[in-house]
Symmetry: D2
Subunit: 241 residues, 4 copies
């Protein structure tokens, strides 16, 4: 059975550079064996997150209390092996559309507090950011870090950006990057599927904590002994000024 | 043969929280089958990058023209399956020590222009950021994005942070995170080793570019037709104001 | 007449740390002579930006084509000398609520294309970011950079953050920071008001562009002559490898 | 007496786009009344920060314990009304050269712990970031946030970026931006000089802390009463799932 890759178009425009790059990445994922689907976030109603977990950590869970189109999206994400988020760059950040989508994904990630496992753990992700101007890496870095912390894998080169005020399809280098995002995401999704993963985040490691902390403390003390006289003399010199 | 994981301590202090978290992550990687090594960047002379590739793109290559301790580090990175970068947070960014180290890694990544392949492609990476105060995610996100673009994989949960002015070993949650960084990095390194990867970035995809661009353009045009009247009426309304 | 400072609470919760810090900053601004107002973004309907300027740059203008509560907010921002944005940290970024608010402010900034002047130019801004965990500086830096590029001034120390899972009112240092945000913003708003500013962004400088470019080019050439032999020998050495 | 603006070239290359944009900004500052100076960081030896304040907060002070070229730079910064940092973009961050420079500026900022005042407080700053590719806003945002937290003012539009692989002098829009950075920085430096500032960060506000905290707590409680039933019902609904 093929892996499933879903692409999310975070631009309200379905014909611009964001869409174009995403369609290229998905096309490439399909060529490398994946089943693909493209969803326009702009077609959906996705209300802002209510921040329930700040009231009670365990309150935030699947399905979210808000009754809107995220309901369907949660199930699509759960059924996918990989996602590709394509966002326009609005003020050096993802669009508000994408931000609300990401905020609401918390209902899957926060299941770690209820079922002991982030429900997106081990899925694969890629990111595309497209603007006329600048800010693409601020967008990409915030998104990839979020995805990693939620439990996604980011495979090699699974990032493509464009920040010029012209048709991205004329830019061979960016088109190639987007094709490689689709390919890398599809390959890694295959790999993750074959790998019968036990959990990627293991709370059980807590059982070894005492030993680990002791080991680290001892090593740090040994190092402190070695550096102490040189570091102390620096501080003394400074404090005497 | 076990996978090899190298941890880089980017703090000049060998006994502080940065070191402690790194030693925990490496300890955990070893428990999960890896061979590990810890290198203190502060013990090395790593001069600033000279930016040769801005003169001639192909000039930047292994070995770097600068004759300092990076020579040995290049070979260590090449022999490793994974790296973990542990950095103190200096003004919401990695320390200058870490920054020089990362800048100089370009000599391996830029081999893509000379040998058609980033020499760190397919290696695994994790990141630890430690401060007294704040900025950890700005540090982490810049580093992970850099690593992905260089060709590294970032496995799930391969990030741990601490930003308080007390002993990190007293913070159970962060210690657990660091243990999971070591474990996730070691597991993914195993996985990548088993996977006989062809290249993760494939310039050969260029051969299909014409079809791909055509496909994307056609889809965008179809979508534009569908959105045209509503979008046009919006713009007309605005321009008439 | 006192200066006017408006604070925007970007949390859906009106009683949490985000609100608390904001009320402290505004209280302090009032003590330093400002008239203040606090607006809960969660009480308003602020739909996502439609990205009209990607269709036609001049289309995006005041008032926005979307008929929702931003209408009133635009006028409030225009009447204010300063704003303070207080956001909760959702995945290392502002909440979707705040992001939509910021995206929609473009209708004021983009007036630079219609009337030759960003309508928020010369106003003052401060930023507060509050989370349980981490990411505050990624949030703050994206917001301050956006505000500067829109034409706001960011006065000294006009940033306060908190990222712990406890009552911020117990943290003396953060409370002091928030008081100073309010004070610094109020003082700078006074200063900007006294200063009869001509435009802060002057397109008229274009008239001197030819000279300026010539000057810069000449200086760069002089420097290149000085560095040429050493740089050339580096590149030659590398290329010969 | 004219205000003094110092520009720091953070590229090892003295003839590239980073230098060019900086020379334009400084040229513009001079045209608007400032005395200017350009310093090539690449000509100096600036060793990595030793992190002394992590040993003892008050240890880090002017002059830094490291005996290198920062000595002279500290005095130049102290004598200046404004600085402009021009950095090349190395991996979505400032160059290691710039990073070491910024890390070492801590010796001026940290005087707040010794003399009650950041020694760069009230100075003005602008930032230029130049790359072939991308990452400019991640660079700029980290630097501006750092500067604001150190006590600098960032005036309107005091940011310019370029991220293309061609001569920046051919790009009218970026040249205009750089001219405006120089102008905005010079104008604001004049303004700050006229303003006989008491401290911008006032620890004295601590004396009012009890009242302020009480006020904030009361307001939050009032708001909680208003939101309680709706928020509680949400959480109950979720927890029952």
């Amino acid at each position: 059975m093929p892996v499933k890759v879903i692409g999310f178009n975070g631009s309200p425009r379905k014909y611009g550079n964001t869409f174009k790059l995403l369609s290229i990445a998905l096309n490439s994922a399909r060529r490398h064996g994946a089943e693909v689907e493209l969803i326009h976030l702009g077609d959906l109603t996705i209300k802002p997150c209510l921040g329930c977990l700040s009231d009670v950590q365990e309150a935030c869970r699947y399905p979210c209390v808000i009754d809107d189109d995220m309901k369907e999206i949660y199930d699509k994400v759960l059924s996918a092996n990989a996602i590709i988020i394509a966002t326009p760059i609005y003020w050096y950040q993802p669009s508000g559309l994408v931000k609300n989508f990401v905020d609401r994904l918390t209902a899957l990630e926060n299941m770690i507090w209820i079922s002991g496992r982030s429900w997106v753990e081990g899925k694969v992700a890629g990111v595309l950011a497209v603007g006329n101007d600048s800010g693409e890496m601020l967008v990409v870095s915030a998104l990839t870090t979020t995805l990693i912390t939620m439990g996604f894998v980011i495979p090699p080169f699974a990032i493509a950006c464009f920040n010029e005020n012209r048709d991205v399809l004329e830019d061979e280098s960016t088109v190639l990057d987007a094709m490689n995002v689709g390919r890398s995401v599809a390959l890694m999704a295959e790999l993750m599927k074959k790998f019968k993963a036990e959990k990627w985040f293991s709370p059980d490691l807590l059982s070894r904590m005492r030993d680990v902390v002791e080991f680290s403390r001892r090593k740090a003390l040994e190092n402190m002994e070695l550096q102490r006289s040189s570091r102390d003399s620096i501080v003394r010199k400074l404090l005497s000024r």
